[in-house]
């Protein structure tokens, strides 16, 4: 045997999973298992926040404004629809990349990021309207719970937008070869998760009557 290179660093590099099905014990790549584990942890994060909101959504001393007094359901439904559509464009981006159409894929990724950004813009607008109507973080437990829960979700969307833009940049610079298509799939897992959480948050926060 001459010089023998033994591979060690299974997955620690910028998401190279060499093959569509890397030969790990389970056949699923390390990065993908890691993302699933992380999302499991995120469920408890949002679970704790949603429970807090449930507990507090009606806690407002008399004479203070609470979230349910201010909701603009048609507006938020619109921005929710936009966010849900971004899951579709995310899927299209992955499918284009898998077919080798990298330019098209980055267009879809950018579209996804823009839709996410529009959702965020809607949230900022909504927050500013609520503040003008007299409901701030300090108003009552219900308002605190509302801002922290939806704000936490918004932060997750913002991180997702950054991630998508980074992918667009990587494709533009040719740093994302075909073999690394799974990077897009994993970013997509995160993105879809954030969307699914919004479905729950929208239902719990906006649609369920007091």
């Amino acid at each position: 045997m001459t010089t023998t290179a033994v591979a060690v660093d299974h997955a620690d590099q910028h998401g190279h999973d060499a093959h569509a099905h890397p030969p790990t014990s389970t056949g699923v790549s390390n990065e993908k298992v890691a993302m699933w584990a992380f999302l499991g942890s995120e469920c408890l994060l949002f679970g704790a926040l949603i429970s807090t909101f449930f507990l507090y959504r009606d806690r407002a001393p008399l004479g203070t404004v609470k979230p349910h007094d201010l909701y603009d359901i048609p507006f938020t439904s619109g921005s929710s629809f936009i966010l849900l559509m971004s899951s579709l464009t995310m899927v299209l981006a992955l499918s284009a990349f898998r077919r080798g159409e990298h330019r098209r894929s980055s267009v879809w990724l950018a579209t996804t990021a823009i839709l996410g950004a529009i959702f965020l813009g809607g949230q900022i607008y909504e927050f500013s309207v609520f503040v003008r109507e007299g409901m701030t973080m300090k108003t009552n437990p219900a308002s605190s719970a509302f801002y922290v829960l939806t704000g936490f979700h918004g932060t997750h969307v913002a991180i997702g937008v950054l991630m998508l833009l980074a992918l667009v940049g990587m494709i533009a610079r040719g740093k994302l070869p075909q073999a690394k298509a799974e990077v897009i799939e994993i970013a997509g897992l995160y993105w879809h998760f954030v969307d699914v959480v919004w479905v729950v948050v929208f239902t719990v926060v906006y649609l369920l009557p007091l």
Binding site: M1, T3, T4, A5, V6, A7, V8, D9, H10, A11, D12, Q13, H14, G15, H16, A18, P22, P23, T24, S25, T26, V28, S29, N30, V33, A34, A37, F38, G40, S41, E42, L45, G47, A48, L49, T52, L55, Y56, R59, A60, P61, G100, H102, M137, K138, T139, N140, P141, S143, S144, A145, V148, F152, I171, A172, R173, G174, P177, Q178, A179
Partner: protein, 687 residues
């Protein structure tokens, strides 16, 4: 050994360095090699050493407490200082000692026990360690910045809200716990993936060593428990920094919410602390009883059961809150039930020792100590599950006695068993047996002297967290005994440190070499030389049964008696084999980014603390997060080795996606390197 491992790089291999700010460092020895290391073994050692340093600090705090309470009207500390000391004692021991000591063992051992060459994400592993370290330093920096946290390790709101704790003490507590929480969450993801994906060929779930199993359960508990306290800490931070009302009763906030969130984390947390110790003694006892672990599958399943049931008992920390008879009954019953899988473990350890040929090494003594002491702690735990009884005990020293019996008598006894057991594997030296026994007996006597009297003190009605007490309460004698005991414990720890020093001198003086398998042990980590070579295994092992290494050495005769296999000596010798001349092993280069990323987080944490005094300080957060994003970007684009060797052009980076199994195939086939690349030919990069 290391000389063989020096990268075989000539100048011809070095390609022009690209424009990245920091190329991967290439030092293998000295200070910077530790700062930049991504080797799971070094990370494990750093976890262990750091946690030991914090153990000394937390221990000194404990001594302060005991000196203060040794006699009535103690005047060493005033009330505020006492609050800081007991808060930091608890916080340190939980977050900076027991958890990271567990992490030290898990980092070092999991890859070895499952036959892997490293954890799934080596750089993230280093990042976990550095984030834990900066979290600890951040917490203790409060000493110089206005005072240490003083709200108890449980941080009950609204006592910790801004009205009652206007100083920065609690802000440091929040920031420090958020940092260590990030460290543990990242570590949990990493080690879970490692256990799931990097097992050697043939290592099915029920062939996995018991320590790795218990670690896996621990990591799942961490994964799901930490987000809950993260949210609790965030809510408290929003209350303090931004005037939110989560725990503000004046405005309709509910203090009980904090208790639920904290204990929903806090109870799994106690299993997070004890499970690694259970795993350790489950490895030590079979080795020194020279019998297989009694009921291995039952041990695994009861560990998993504890992991699940640990989520359904948190309200027993809140029996005196007044939650109503239904929840009290339900949680009383669930708390009694969780004693069942725990009891199963105790019986199985006893069953393992039963009729074994016991060898009373230091590791074995500490393990037996765990079985005995944890049983006492477990039984006093069952007494609090009876909620009317708990009303009598809550917030008394009886509780203090109970949790020290499970966490000191359990976790710390187990961890020291592990230190004595794996010390030769990690450092290539066997700790002195006589000093080990002196350590054990002083530890055992000091422990019982300190904490057994607290049962009585508690039943006499001595409340927890009081900084002093008047004469004539009847608490004087037992408090004095406990204080003497705490100094015996401190002396025992000094014996341990002396042992380390003496052993090191002796091994160096007499040039003693420890074989790969000094204890005639059972799992894969003993099938390689001691100390573990940088590359772990030359070839990825193939596993045929649980305790695979043992079955390579021993078999049973027709009457079920253990006997050596004829190839025993040959197998043992194979375990001491290093690389042959000319063989090199490809390892990932160290990296600067993990420590940089951790430093960014620390910066952001200071921003959170001081943002409360002046909004401009939040710029520190912005700066920290901004730098973190830049770091993550650079981290993501970092090549796996530096300088690139001939294999490592951008496409052949893919080589490193190979698993041990795949690398093994290449080894077996005797292909030379180009064939490696062929297996992983990437598709055409496009741009």
């Amino acid at each position: 050994m290391t000389s063989v491992l020096e990268p075989t790089v000539t100048t011809a291999d070095i390609r022009p360095i690209d424009s990245r700010a920091l190329s991967r460092p290439q030092v293998n020895t000295g200070f910077w090699s530790w700062i930049t290391s991504v080797d799971h073994k070094r990370v494990g050692i750093m976890y262990g050493v750091t946690a030991m340093a914090f153990f000394v600090i937390g221990g000194l705090e404990a001594l302060l407490i005991r000196v203060q309470l040794a006699a009535p009207n103690g005047r060493i500390l005033d009330a505020n200082a006492y609050n800081q000391v007991f808060t930091m004692h608890g916080t340190t021991m939980v977050f900076l000692v027991v958890m990271p000591l567990g992490a030290a063992f898990m980092n070092y051992l999991i890859p070895l026990q499952i036959g892997a060459r490293d954890v799934a994400f080596p750089r993230l592993n280093a990042f976990s360690y550095w984030t834990f370290l900066v979290g600890g330093l951040f917490l203790y920096s409060s000493v110089f910045l206005g005072g240490m946290p003083n709200g108890g390790w449980f941080g009950y709101a609204p006592n910790t809200s801004i009205v009652y704790s206007p100083g920065h003490n609690i802000d440091f507590w929040i920031g420090g716990l958020l940092l260590t929480g990030i460290a543990s969450t990242v570590g949990a993801v990493n080690l879970i993936v490692t256990c799931i994906n990097l097992r050697a060929k043939g290592m099915t779930w029920f062939r996995m060593p018991i320590f790795t199993w218990m670690s896996l359960v621990t990591q799942f508990l961490l994964l799901f428990a930490l987000p809950v306290i993260t949210i609790a800490l965030f809510l408290l931070m929003f209350d303090r920094n931004f005037g939110a009302n989560f725990f503000n009763p004046a405005n309709g906030g509910d203090p009980v919410l904090w208790q639920h969130l904290f204990w929903l984390f806090g109870h799994p947390e106690v299993y997070i602390m004890i499970m690694p110790a259970f795993g350790i003694v489950s490895e030590v006892i079979p080795t020194f009883a020279r019998k297989p672990l009694f009921g291995y599958p039952v041990m695994v399943v009861s560990g998993i059961a504890i992991g699940f049931m640990g989520w359904g008992v948190w309200v027993h920390h809140m029996f005196s809150v007044g939650l109503g008879p239904v929840s009290l009954t339900a949680f009383s019953i669930s708390t009694m039930f969780i004693a069942v899988p725990t009891g199963v473990k105790i019986f199985n350890w006893v069953g393992t020792m039963w009729k074994g040929s016991l060898r009373y090494t230091s590791a074995m003594m500490f393990s037996i100590g765990l079985v005995a002491m944890f049983t006492i702690g477990g039984l006093s735990g069952v007494t609090h599950s009876v909620s009317p009884h708990d009303r009598q005990q809550t917030d008394t020293y009886y509780i203090v006695a109970h949790f020290h019996y499970v966490l000191f008598g359990g976790a710390l006894f187990g961890i020291f068993a592990g230190i004595y057991f794996w010390y030769p594997k990690v450092f290539g030296q066997i700790l002195d047996k006589r000093l080990g026994k002196i350590h054990f007996w002083m530890w055992f006597v000091g422990f019982n002297m300190t904490f057994a009297p607290m049962h009585i003190l508690g039943l006499q009605g001595m409340p927890r967290r009081i900084y002093t007490y008047p004469e004539g309460t009847g608490w004087e004698v037992w408090n004095a005994v406990a204080s003497v005991g705490s100094f015996v414990l401190a002396a025992a720890l000094l014996v341990f440190f002396y042992n380390i020093r003496k052993t090191d001198k002796k091994h160096k003086r007499e040039a003693i070499l420890v074989g790969g398998d000094p204890w005639d042990a059972r799992s894969l980590e003993w099938s390689i030389p001691s100390p573990t070579p940088e590359y772990n295994f030359i070839e990825s092992p193939e596993v045929h049964s649980v305790d695979d290494w043992w079955h390579k050495k021993y078999t049973e005769d027709s009457e079920g008696r253990m006997m050596k296999l004829p190839e025993y000596d040959e197998v043992l010798a194979s375990g001491n084999k290093g690389l042959e001349p000319g063989q090199t092993v490809h390892l990932p280069s160290p990296s600067y980014y993990p420590i940089i990323a951790s430093a960014c987080l620390m910066l952001a944490a200071y921003g959170l603390v001081y943002g409360r005094s002046s909004g401009a300080n939040y710029l520190l957060c912005v700066l920290g997060i901004g730098l973190l994003i830049a770091t993550v970007e650079a981290w993501g684009l970092e090549p796996s080795t530096e300088p690139h060797d001939s294999l490592d052009d951008p496409d052949a980076d893919l080589l490193f996606g190979l698993t041990p199994a795949e690398a093994d195939r290449v080894l077996a086939g005797g292909h030379d390197t180009p064939a490696l690349g062929a297996g992983a030919t990437p598709e055409e990069p496009t741009s």
